[in-house]
Every structure is written in structure tokens, then in C-alpha cells.
């Protein structure tokens, strides 16, 4: 097995993933004790960033969760950049410049990803609009059994006759 597939296989972590893809699995060790920065604030930022960065040789795994050597390298890299004084967005930009958009687990809003980001809201709006339209149409047609159609004069007379309202 070539190194890349081996690592990819080791990255398969959800069991169904392992089961269904028949990918070999191995435990995730993720962040190692020797990687942790002494500065708790910086380390917290590093952890937050790590959750949003993909381990590129794994299947849908963040570098925070992955035990692949590449993920280790990226975790160290993120921490080095932070120690050098980079802001969070600078770190992300640096990684994107190096590895492409693929490294981001949460894609940026761009024209290629606009449909992705807009889909949930658009679908909700379209659904709500369709419901609204259906409601209007039904009310407009008013032909349903429950619709309040006023009684005709003849019906009213007949009703009065039946209820005995006209009786002397």
C-alpha cells in the first residue's frame, strides 16, 4: 500500500466509514502532548484553528482529530505561525496559499461556493413561499367544504322553515 493510501486508510475514523468503505482504521491520537504550546491562550487559538483545517490525506477529518503524520506537521506549523505573531486569518491565508481551498473544512464564501452557502436559506425561503402561495390559492378559490359561502335567500328561507323561526 502506498504511503498516501495507508495514511488515508488510517484516517478513516467513523466506524461506518471504516465498515462501508472497507478502509483500514486505526485509533486517532490527534494532538500529542509534545505539540501543546505553553501559552494557554495561544494553544486555545491553535485548537480552534485546527478544528477548521482539514487533514488532506484523511477522509473528512480535521487536523485536530487526525493522527496522520501530515496532520501533525500542520498542527506544528499552525503553532509556529501563531508563535511568530500571525493573526488567525493570516494563518488560514498562509495554509490556503500553500495547500489550496481544500484545506478549509468550512469553505469561504466565493462564487464557486455561493450556492452551497445560500442553499439552506434559499430552500427555506422557497419552501415558505410555496406554502404561502398554496395557502393564498386555497383561500382564493374558496371552494373547499369548509369555506364560508353565504346562504342564498332560498336556503335561508328553508332553514327558517326547518328551525321553526317563522312559526307564529
Amino acid at each position: 500500500m502506498c504511503a498516501a493510501t495507508m495514511r488515508a486508510a488510517m484516517g478513516a475514523r467513523f466506524l461506518v466509514a471504516a465498515l462501508l468503505l472497507a478502509g483500514a482504521g486505526a485509533p486517532s491520537y490527534a494532538v500529542q502532548p509534545d505539540e501543546i504550546l505553553p501559552d494557554a491562550k495561544l494553544e486555545a487559538r491553535a485548537r480552534d484553528l485546527s478544528h477548521e483545517l482539514r487533514c488532506m490525506v484523511c477522509q473528512n477529518q480535521s487536523i485536530d482529530e487526525s493522527d496522520a503524520p501530515l496532520a501533525h506537521d500542520l498542527r506544528v506549523l499552525v503553532r509556529e505561525r501563531l508563535k511568530a505573531g500571525d493573526s488567525d486569518s493570516q494563518v488560514v491565508d498562509f495554509l490556503v496559499a500553500r495547500y489550496g481551498e481544500f484545506v478549509l473544512l468550512k469553505p469561504r464564501f466565493e462564487w464557486t461556493t455561493a450556492p452551497l452557502w445560500l442553499a439552506p436559506g434559499a430552500l427555506l425561503l422557497v419552501g415558505a413561499a410555496a406554502l404561502w402561495a398554496a395557502l393564498r390559492r386555497r383561500r382564493g378559490s374558496g371552494g373547499g367544504p369548509d369555506a364560508a359561502v353565504p346562504l342564498s335567500d332560498h336556503e335561508r328561507a328553508r332553514l327558517a322553515e326547518l328551525t321553526g323561526a317563522n312559526r307564529p
Binding site: 466509514a17 485509533p27 494532538v31 477529518q61 480535521s62 468550512k106 464557486t112 386555497r138
Partner: protein, 659 residues
């Protein structure tokens, strides 16, 4: 001999399925009772044959017959018996056979217990079921035959992937498949209704038990998978928004929507066309879940290239059933009559809102899962869509749904009184606010945790409010309340339990994600480390040999306020057959919370990387799912839904009003 027998039985099942696909349907069209009744013996025969085939494969695995290719690939003679058994479906070929076995079981159940379904509808449903079965038999026989032989037979097998050598494999895939395949029944009913061009409230009543069974199994299957991932993968994550998980979550969301819309259809004859569409979509998502995951296409478009035959087969089946189902829908649905009207503020209105949010949430997961694939296929650009995206989009869609949950059951059918319902929910509002305030005072930040707990409290207390209202607790004398509680339809209890379960799961999610703590340290013998209120002492390491692995265990003594409360022994196992290792986390349960310990790298100088987690309320995540499933089971036991039950013996007046 035995593998050939299994193979032969499967071929026979295909032949019978082809008969069942055509003859009863033709009988239903021509009103020919004899032809229609062909469906029952053929459905039972299919079940028997597939069961024989499956038993044959099981026997190959249990006896470690490595002349069968799939046994050689996925089993080992030293594996414990239970894993020899479960490895039958721990691979593609065997799991497909399990899939058709469950399909055959459901078909046989409809044939055997569907006595109250009109003859033409039943015949059509069983024919449609058989289309699915036939397609799958052909798929298995042509591209995924589990009975293929190897010559010469290898001496030893390659072992099952160690990560799958777990009790989870015995439960998780069968439950998931029961869910997926169970939705095939609602699909078949929907297609049958479209073919017949007729649908009414009774239809919803016949479909409901099957949908409920599927939903219960899928709920438990997903929960089991989540817990399995949690304890096996070594860092205590329980949901990853992995494409494979999403593939099982989408049918669950659609199936939940279907359960709710079918309720409206059954009680009020409204939302018929929508319910039909949801039935088709739910099973389509199940098919996609089965297939896209199986084909590996979710990992990469190129997976198709490794086995083009299988890939093309899968595409054809998906297009035939999903495309065919939707085309039939587009053609025939306009013929179906629309039913009862209702005001926007009503039980129906609330259920429509539920459907709007559930289907949008489902569509969001769908888009998120398949978008990278589509983008890569169209433009070649590679992007990732992972957990942060889903948390950012799915969450905001689910929160309003949760807020609306308690209102639904309290609203009246046709025209509800939102003011009255809000007043009746006053207790729930107050308790939710108390919960928020209490959490803010006790825990401080994060504020989002307080709101999460408040929302969960609102959902739970809201569900209880419905039962309190219906039984007149505190207003009527206690014996009356008790009598009412017993007389309350089981489906009312079911709804309450399912909604309570939802709230309970939310409590667990909030607790685990907002208040969890971790320690990642490198330890040697005698070292001490503390996490929250707990102190851990590294007592030492030990090694032992399992049946097919070697194990290195580390012993920790756990103390709280100096008092020892237990011992934890996380370990690492090495499986020589595959040269792989797994980590076995140690769990200590404290109420609904857990302490989680797992091992990382062991350095040559004897230091062990240890990961310790405190997971507050984490067990509630799965406990809530079990409560939901119990709700489903209660609803299933409702008299009016009992499969094949005769007409209610009690007088109509004794039956509670609709809920």
C-alpha cells in the same frame, strides 16, 4: 457445496422476484384475484430462499471456509465466534446480502400480516417491493457475489478490520439496514398509490406502522453507530458530519418529516401529495445512503474508476428507482384529490412547519455532502465541507424547529388558538427561564450553553405539559387522571416520549460540547494528573494476549477529593494478521457523565501519551435517542395502527379524540 447452495438460492430468489414483479401487478390491473394472490406465496418464498442464502454465507464464515473469497478477505480462524458471525456483513458483498434479507423479511411481513390492506393495493405494493428486490439480486449476482470461490483455497484468512471487531458491528449495520429497508415499504405504498391513482386516510394508516418500525430502527442504529464511534475512536467524538454519517442522517430527517406528514394525512386527509413525495424521497435517500457509501464515491469521484461495473450498476439502480419514482409522481400526483383545509395556526399548520424545517435541514445536509463532489466533477476545483459548515447551517435551522416542537401537540386540528397554547405552555417557559438563569449563575459562561439547556427544558416540559393537559393532572381527582392516562391513545404517549427524547439528547449535546474538559499529557509510572474534580495516578502498565491480538494496558487509579473511586485501564491492541492496532478507551460512568481515557503513542523510554476527557451529560445524547425510540414503539402499539388488527372492539365514543 454450501456456498453453491447459497448462490443457487439467491438465483432462485431472483427468478421468483421477477414473477412477483409482474404477475400480481397485472392481476391488480385486471382485477384478477388469482393473479393478485400470487404475491403472497412468492413473497414468502423469497424470504425463505434469501434466508437460506444468508445462512449458507454465515456457515461459510463460522466454519472459516477460506475457499470463499469474501471469507478469506474478511475473516480469520482465530477470531472469536461472534466476530466470525458479524464479519458476514462487515464487508460490501455480505452487507448487500443482509440488505436483501431484510428486504425479504419486510416483504414477507406485508404478505403475512397485511390482511386488512385491500387486495389490489397489497398486490401492487408487493410487486413494487419485488422490483427493488430483483434489482438488488441482479446487482449482487452480477457485481458483488459473496459466494465466489478461490482456487486453491488459502490456508488462513486476512482477518476482519480490527476496528470492526467490536460488538457494535453486531448491532449497528443491521439496525441501520432495518431502517433503510423499512422505508422501502412506504416507497412501495407510495408507488402503488400513484399507480392506482387513489389515496385516502386509510392509506396513511396502513403505511404508518412500517414507517414507524423503520424510523425506530434507524434512530437506534444511528445512536448505536454514534456511541460506537465515541468509545472506539479514542478521542470521544460522537458526531463528525462525515459523509457516511450524513448518508444515514438524511433518511432519518426525511423519515421524521414523513411520520409527521402522514399523521396529517391520516387524521385530516390533507398533505396527501406531499406525503407521497416524502415517501419516495425518504427511500431514495436510503438507497443513496446504501449505495453512495458503498461505492466509495463520497470519498472521491475516482472511486468509480476502481470498479466501473459496480459503479455503473449503482447509477442505473439509483436512476431507475429515484428517477422513475419521481417521474411517476410528476405524472400521476395531479390526479390525486387534495383533502381537508386548515388554518395556518392549527395542528396541521404546526406539522407543515415541522416538515418545512426538517426537509430544509435534510436538503442542507444533502447539499453539503454532495456539493464538493459536484463541484469537482464540474469544475475540477477541490473544496472540503466539514463539521464547521454543518454546525453553522444545520444549527440555525434546527433551533426554530425545537422551539416549535412543544406547540404542535397542544394546538387543535383545523384551527388552533396560539394564545391559549402559549398560556398552557407558561410552565414550560418559566422552567426554561429558570434553567437558563440557574445555568448562568452556576456555570457562568458560555451563554450559549445556558440557552441550550433552557431550550431543552422547554422541549421536555412542553411535551410533559401535553400529557398533563390531557389527563387533567392537578385539576381532576387523581383516579380520574389515572383513568385518563390509561385511556390516552398510545400514540399520544409516543409523541410525548419522542419529544422528551429530543430534549434529552439536546441536554447531552449541550453538556458535552460546552462543558467538556480534556487533558493531553505524557505520563510515566507514578505520575499524577488531575482533570476537573478527579485525580489520576499512573499505577503501571501490563501486557496480555487476546485470541487474535496483543494488548498493552495502563492502569490508573481515579480519586475524587482524595478518595479512590475506581480504576481505569485504557489499552492498545495490536492485531498481527493485519499489522494494525486499535485503542480501547476506558470509560467511567458518573451519573450521566463519563470520564474517558485513551492511550496514544508509547515512546521507547516508557512514557505514554494519555488523553483524558471529562464528558458532562454525554450519556444523555444516546439515552435521548433511546427515549425517542421508546416513543416510536409506544406509538406503534397504538391500537389503531396494529398491523392486521381487526376493527376496534370498543365503541367509538370510548375512543379518545384524534391527536
Amino acid at each position: 457445496m454450501i456456498p453453491e447452495l447459497g448462490h443457487f438460492a439467491l438465483v432462485l430468489a431472483l427468478a421468483i422476484a421477477l414473477v412477483q414483479s409482474v404477475v400480481p401487478l397485472y392481476g391488480a390491473r385486471t382485477r384478477d384475484t388469482v393473479l393478485m394472490r400470487v404475491a403472497e406465496p412468492t413473497a414468502l418464498a423469497q424470504f425463505v430462499l434469501v434466508a437460506v442464502s444468508f445462512a449458507a454465507l454465515v456457515s461459510c464464515y463460522v466454519t472459516s471456509d477460506f475457499s470463499v473469497a469474501t471469507v478469506f478477505e474478511n475473516s480469520h480462524s482465530t477470531m472469536p465466534l461472534i466476530y466470525k458471525f458479524t464479519s458476514v456483513w462487515g464487508n460490501h458483498e455480505g452487507s448487500m446480502l443482509l440488505w436483501v434479507l431484510i428486504l425479504a423479511v419486510f416483504g414477507a411481513l406485508v404478505a403475512a400480516f397485511g390482511a386488512n390492506i385491500p387486495a389490489t393495493l397489497k398486490a401492487t405494493v408487493l410487486s413494487v417491493q419485488s422490483w427493488i428486490a430483483a434489482a438488488f439480486y441482479v446487482f449482487i449476482l452480477a457485481t458483488s457475489n459473496p459466494f465466489l470461490r478461490l482456487s486453491p483455497a488459502p490456508f488462513e484468512g486476512r482477518d476482519l478490520n480490527p476496528i470492526l471487531q467490536d460488538f457494535g458491528l453486531a448491532v449497528h449495520p443491521p439496525m441501520l439496514y432495518l431502517g433503510y429497508v423499512g422505508f422501502s415499504i412506504s416507497f412501495s405504498f407510495a408507488i402503488a398509490a400513484l399507480i392506482e391513482g387513489r389515496i385516502d386516510a386509510a392509506w396513511a394508516r396502513w403505511v404508518r406502522p412500517w414507517t414507524l418500525i423503520a424510523w425506530i430502527c434507524l434512530t437506534l442504529g444511528i445512536a448505536m453507530g454514534s456511541y460506537w464511534a465515541y468509545y472506539t475512536l479514542g478521542w470521544g467524538g460522537w458526531w463528525y458530519w462525515d459523509p457516511v454519517e450524513n448518508a444515514s442522517f438524511m433518511p432519518w430527517l426525511a423519515g421524521t418529516a414523513l411520520l409527521h406528514s402522514a399523521l396529517v394525512m391520516e387524521k385530516r386527509e390533507a398533505l396527501k401529495i406531499w406525503t407521497i413525495l416524502l415517501s419516495i424521497l425518504t427511500f431514495s435517500l436510503s438507497l443513496m445512503g446504501t449505495f453512495l457509501v458503498r461505492s466509495g464515491v463520497l470519498t472521491s469521484v475516482h472511486a468509480f474508476a476502481t470498479d466501473p461495473m459496480r459503479g455503473i450498476f449503482i447509477l442505473v439502480i439509483l436512476v431507475l428507482f429515484i428517477g422513475g419514482g419521481l417521474a411517476l409522481y410528476a405524472w400521476r400526483a395531479p390526479l390525486l384529490k387534495q383533502g381537508g383545509l386548515f388554518a395556518p395556526i392549527s395542528r396541521e399548520g404546526a406539522l407543515v412547519l415541522n416538515n418545512l424545517f426538517l426537509t430544509t435541514a435534510c436538503a442542507t445536509v444533502f447539499v453539503g455532502t454532495l456539493y464538493p463532489l459536484a463541484l469537482e466533477a464540474l469544475t475540477g476545483a477541490k473544496i472540503s465541507v466539514g463539521a464547521p459548515f454543518f454546525n453553522a447551517t444545520f444549527g440555525p435551522l434546527f433551533v426554530p424547529l425545537l422551539v416549535a416542537v412543544p406547540f404542535g401537540p397542544l394546538l387543535a386540528w383545523k384551527r388552533g388558538d396560539i394564545k391559549g397554547v402559549t398560556q398552557r405552555l407558561a410552565a414550560a417557559f418559566v422552567l426554561a427561564l429558570v434553567g437558563i438563569a440557574a445555568v448562568c449563575v452556576v456555570e457562568g459562561r458560555p451563554v450559549i450553553a445556558a440557552f441550550g439547556i433552557g431550550l431543552a427544558a422547554f422541549v421536555i416540559v412542553g411535551a410533559i405539559t401535553d400529557i398533563v393537559e390531557r389527563t387533567g393532572l392537578w385539576r381532576a381527582p387523581f383516579p380520574t387522571t389515572l383513568r385518563r392516562a390509561i385511556g390516552l391513545p398510545r400514540s399520544a404517549w409516543g409523541a410525548a416520549f419522542a419529544h422528551i427524547g429530543l430534549g434529552v439528547t439536546l441536554l447531552g449535546v449541550v453538556g458535552e460540547t460546552q462543558w467538556g474538559a480534556e487533558q493531553i499529557v505524557s505520563l510515566r509510572q507514578g505520575d499524577k494528573v488531575s482533570l476537573r474534580h478527579y485525580d489520576f495516578t499512573f499505577d503501571g502498565t501490563s501486557t496480555r494476549n487476546g485470541p487474535n491480538y496483543r494488548e498493552l494496558a495502563v492502569k490508573f487509579t481515579v480519586r475524587r477529593n482524595g478518595e479512590p473511586i475506581g480504576i481505569m485501564q485504557p489499552s492498545k491492541r495490536t492485531f498481527p494478521a493485519r499489522g494494525m492496532s486499535t485503542t480501547e478507551a476506558a470509560l467511567m460512568t458518573r451519573g450521566f457523565s463519563q470520564i474517558y481515557a485513551s492511550l496514544g503513542e508509547v515512546t521507547p523510554d516508557g512514557a505514554v501519551a494519555v488523553r483524558l476527557y471529562h464528558k458532562p451529560l454525554v450519556l444523555l445524547i444516546w439515552f435521548g435517542c433511546v427515549v425517542m425510540a421508546v416513543g416510536g414503539a409506544l406509538s406503534l402499539s397504538d391500537r389503531r395502527l396494529r398491523v392486521g388488527a381487526p376493527k376496534p372492539a370498543r365503541s367509538r365514543a370510548a375512543i379518545q379524540p384524534a391527536e
